[in-house]
């Protein structure tokens, strides 16, 4: 077989995004709380000044961290999230009408993204039946139980964070920093991954790839990771 030349690696986050961003675009951002966030890519989006963003992300970061950075600059117009309780700025912008908000149950959000990436336009779930979430949604009964129809989600761009990758874009995540990153990788028209380490093809075990390289268009090695912890909790010795 051929000696492959891989062309996915970019020198820095701004470079990896420069011809992708446009005002009004939809961006999915991986991470749960401050864990597994594409920090460098978020900073590059902030620097780019792109605006009117629709952002799909489980949380909205905290002040000074994660998507909180894009709230400070007013770049986000709408957010689809499951929980934004950590961010006071979000509260302020929401109450003043600067930002729109669509809450999805966390599992429904994850599954909508998985469906979007897997070519499934809609599916049924019991989550949210009989609650505000079911408003204006089709209800269908299977085996005497009600379910609501939820639709797949895709984005113009997915930004994700992994631990290691190889040149072909095969990714491995670390511990609970995996969270939404693997599904979002599948649901972006373009997916850009930032990683802590880039390896040569052949250095990862093919049985152990979390995200196959087909989903990854561009790769950048991240730097200056904050290792921020939202809720440091320890036990006595």
């Amino acid at each position: 077989m051929s000696k492959k030349k891989y062309k996915k690696i970019y020198s820095n986050a701004s470079h990896a995004l420069e011809d992708i961003l446009f005002d009004g675009m939809t961006i999915m951002s991986g991470g749960f709380g401050l864990c597994g966030l594409p920090e460098n890519l978020i900073v590059a989006i902030k620097k780019s000044g792109v605006s009117n963003l629709k952002v799909i992300s489980n949380n909205a970061g905290t002040e000074g961290h994660g998507l909180g950075l894009l709230l400070e600059t007013g770049q986000i117009k709408k957010a689809i999230s499951s929980y934004v309780g950590e961010n006071k700025l979000f509260e302020k912008q929401y109450l003043s009408g600067e930002i729109e908000l669509e809450f999805n149950p966390q599992g429904t959000l994850a599954e909508r993204i998985r469906a979007g990436g897997a070519g499934i336009p809609a599916f049924f779930t019991a989550t949210g039946v009989g609650t505000l979430v079911s408003k204006n949604k089709e209800v269908k009964t299977f085996n005497n139980k009600d379910y609501i129809m939820e639709t797949g989600l895709t984005a113009d761009l997915s930004i994700i964070k992994a631990w290691k990758c190889d040149e072909a874009g095969n990714l491995i995540y670390r511990k609970t920093a995996r969270n939404f990153n693997p599904v979002m990788a599948t649901a972006g028209k373009v997916t850009v991954a930032e990683v802590e380490e880039i390896l040569k093809a052949g250095e990862l075990d093919p049985d152990q790839i979390h995200t196959p390289g087909i989903y990854i268009n561009r790769i950048v090695k991240g730097k200056d990771y904050s290792r921020a912890i939202e809720n440091l909790t320890v036990r006595e010795k």
């Binding site: 599992g107 949210g128 039946v129 609970t176």
Partner: protein, 203 residues
């Protein structure tokens, strides 16, 4: 209350504990039981909080607290985690509540007029987990009953609660509220008085 809640766990159970008081139930689990804790951000086999200095920013629970792993831990994505929850593979979930109705409706995510933080994974948990236990104070701070005829707050799930454990006792929820146990020094009359719907007692 946490001790009493821990007694609902059976050997071999896979359990999801909600944020707040339910998290503390882990401290009361009997040593001899094999209980595996799930954290919906993508972990099965959740260990205790780390010792100071041993925390890892890549290892947190659904409450964003630092935690540790165990020898049988596995990590997975949010989609796989909620497939596990939605698919009925978790035996038990213990959650807090603002209100529970006699028909098992649960309200615990939103108070209209106050800032909406979001439901997180609560709606998925109550819709998917085999048995849902609510662990809460019997009454709100102003004394208002939290076990009610029908919920006034926006619902988290409809007909989803199986058991309620409060400072006054343990209650079965099955179209009606039936008391299973009275807490120490609590009388039937006190329970009746402090509950917003009819309470059935065993014969």
């Amino acid at each position: 209350m946490c001790l009493r809640a821990s007694q609902e766990l059976k050997d071999g159970d896979y359990v999801n504990l909600g944020i707040g008081m339910p998290t503390l139930v882990a401290n009361y689990i009997e040593e001899s039981l094999n209980i595996t804790l799930q954290s919906e951000n993508g972990m099965l086999g959740m260990g205790p909080f780390p010792l100071e200095g041993e925390e890892d920013s890549d290892l947190i629970n659904a409450g964003k607290q630092t935690i540790t792993s165990l020898p049988d831990t596995s990590y997975f994505s949010s989609a796989d985690s909620f497939a596990m929850i939605r698919g009925g593979h978790i035996d038990l979930s213990i959650l807090g509540a603002l209100e529970v109705s006699k028909s098992g409706d649960l309200a615990n995510w939103m108070i209209p007029g106050k800032m909406v933080k979001g439901m997180g994974g609560a709606m998925d948990l109550v819709a998917g987990v085999k048995k849902v236990i609510v662990l809460m104070d019997h009454n709100a701070k102003d004394g208002a009953p939290k076990i009610v005829e029908s919920c006034s707050l926006p619902l988290t799930g409809k007909g989803v609660v199986n058991t309620i454990i409060t400072n006054l006792g343990v209650f079965e929820v099955n179209k009606e509220i039936k008391i299973l146990e009275l807490a120490a020094n609590v009388t039937k009359e006190e329970v009746i008085e402090k509950t917003g719907t009819e309470v059935k007692f065993p014969n």
